[in-house]
Assembly symmetry: C2
Homo-oligomer: 150 residues x 2
């Protein structure tokens, strides 16, 4: 039972940006901080911009920032808009489903109910809840911008 | 957001067996009914036997059957014992996790809470709840044993 790496990386980008209270962030900066391939991140960031979580600016001094405060970015909403699909089992995929008992099987509705419960838990939290704010956190998340802005 | 094909196929085997109220079922019978590769099914069935959901008998007239009535096989229990792991995100994998913010990130606990909610929904149902019992069902699930035993 997994979410995709795509959603995982989407959260890493959003959490990074939630710490950057000033200035724009570059793709390279996050790629370096998280040791993630730049190519991977470009796709993730493009999707986050398309879905309205971040705004990007092109050009020499370009970069990205959150489109709204972290407390306004809901975690359930992020998962719904970053996961490529919610096909818990083959029967969720109307095009490729080959399971012969689908018309008389209740499993799909039980899985749907379970999936709704999963997302409802995440709906209770926002990006502002994700980072523990203490001295240990300050040491680990010593982002360039935080340093620059002090 | 997906369960593995392994869990999907495990459910297909268990649901098939829940319809077979008499006699033993062979791997080939289920492979043919569901058009699934026999090799795939052998692994699935071995795991279901190891985890105590089915009992298997070797030999010429060998086969398998549920170890207990369908109403005694809980769906949450099946998912817990067929999914290879519950690593929702990389931070759940203690060995391979490389996410640098793990010590100060609450996302893992939110995902754990969501996963618990997912499984709790499935804990409400048993294998006996999975098939709609009506005339349409009878037509689709015309298993060899049902025919043989009448």
């Amino acid at each position: 039972m997994q979410l995709t790496q795509y959603t995982d990386y989407s959260f890493r980008v959003l959490i990074y940006l939630s710490e950057k209270t000033e200035g724009l962030t570059t793709v390279s900066e996050i790629a370096k901080f998280h040791s993630i391939s730049r190519n991977h991140l470009v796709k993730v960031i493009h999707n986050l911009a398309t879905k309205g979580f971040i705004v990007t600016t092109r050009g020499r001094n370009g970069g990205m920032m959150l489109s709204r405060p972290p407390s306004m970015i809901n975690l359930g909403d992020v998962v719904r808009k970053t996961e490529p699909n919610f096909n818990i089992a083959e029967c969720f995929d109307a095009v490729n489903n080959r399971c012969v008992i689908t018309p008389v099987c209740e499993l799909k509705s039980f899985f749907s109910e379970a999936q709704t419960a999963f997302l409802r838990v995440l709906d209770k939290y926002t990006l502002a809840d994700t980072l523990i704010r203490d001295q240990q956190a300050q040491k680990i998340i010593s982002l360039p911008a935080s340093t620059k802005s002090t």
